[in-house]
Amino acid sequence: MTVFEDEVVAGIARIEAPAGPSPLEQEVVGLFDQFQDRLLRYLLSMGVAAADAEEIVQEVFLALFQHLRRGKSRRNLRAWVFQVAHNLGLKQLSRMRRTKQTLVEPEGLELERRLADRAPNPEDRLAANQRQEHLLGVLRAMPEQDQRCLSLRAEGLTYREIAQVLGISLSGVSLSLGRSLSRLARADKG
């Protein structure tokens, strides 16, 4: 938090700059800045509720802090944070299913409404809506693993990283993405 002045308002807590966070804390916060949006988007696309996704992202970076403090591997931290988020997301989804809570529809109606108001005029909007709805329909019909491969790829992960996050083989990832992209390409033309 930025501190603008050094005067203190009597009786009110003054938020000071953190008293010397360690280099490791700074590094973890830097990684948080870099990845939080991508992780949140991925968790939301899995169907995790927004409030739970926020909590999971916090847990991911607390776990990363402990991981690095213990001197464990720093190799490919991007894949590491996505993997931890993915596993925590799966746990949360299974907890929600057990307690019979309503799963958040990853591509829900509210989102479709948001998409609706982008195009400049009613005709374009209608055409854009129809196209996007068609695309959403195709996406929803895909197996969960294909959807997750696509989301992770859209968040910038390489095939090898996606394989690590989802715990599948590299050829499994390329097969999944090849299949999904050709389906989407057909949907685009249709």
Binding site: T2, A13, P21, P106, T158, S182
Partner: protein
Amino acid sequence: MQYQESHVSDQDLALLADGELDPGRTPEVAAHLAQCWFCRARKQDIENAIVDFVRVHREMLDGRLPPPAPMRAMLKARLAQIAETNRGWWPWPMLQTWCYAGAALLVVVLAGTFWSYWRENPSRASARRPVPVSFPEPSLTPGAVATVNKDLICGTPRPKNRAVPASLRRQVFEEYGIPSAEPRAYEVDYLITPALGGADDIRNLWPQSSTAAVWNARVKDALEDRLHDLVCEGDLDLKTAQRDIASDWIAAYKKYFLTDQPVAVAR
């Protein structure tokens, strides 16, 4: 059909579009594409599909992302707490483990005792829970400011109160002894609004009852607007405004609206 089989597969086209095709195969596929319009069109379709997917993916999800600053502040606070807790407190790991085990046992015994007490005296136990209605608990929510610089407050468009992240909301409910509160019954509100320099900090947040009939959130919003106007028009010192709203917002309302009851607030 034999002609069809000589084309590049969808999987290879996707790998090529993604730069993930095996370097050994790339020249062969590139040579085929150079002479095959059909495969080039298919590759273009795949690239278009990628563009469309990314657009839909972003548009669907970006609007649901929470503001980053409170999440970041929360993470920093939690990291600092962990770092402090774990800072070389005990030199002998084994002894430390035993100590933790002892503490855990003590917690279990105390929890058991409390549970028995609660079962025998449920009304007394629940009566101790503070249920805030219109006024924050000063020891938990004294107010916290990020700035006392009037130019920053008045020089930019007035910020709306940011959404409080769910994890921070839960922490506020826990602090106030209402961990299982119905979220719709309370609005986790800034005591000193960010428009008056209030900070994204748990010391500046409290669960304001949504059901309060008189001194409710809309009345407090009106006070915040009034104070902001007074400060920016030079009629009130920013620090005084912050102090007044933090120490007793209802008294501040009466003071700045010259009334003992809220005036009608348009919805």
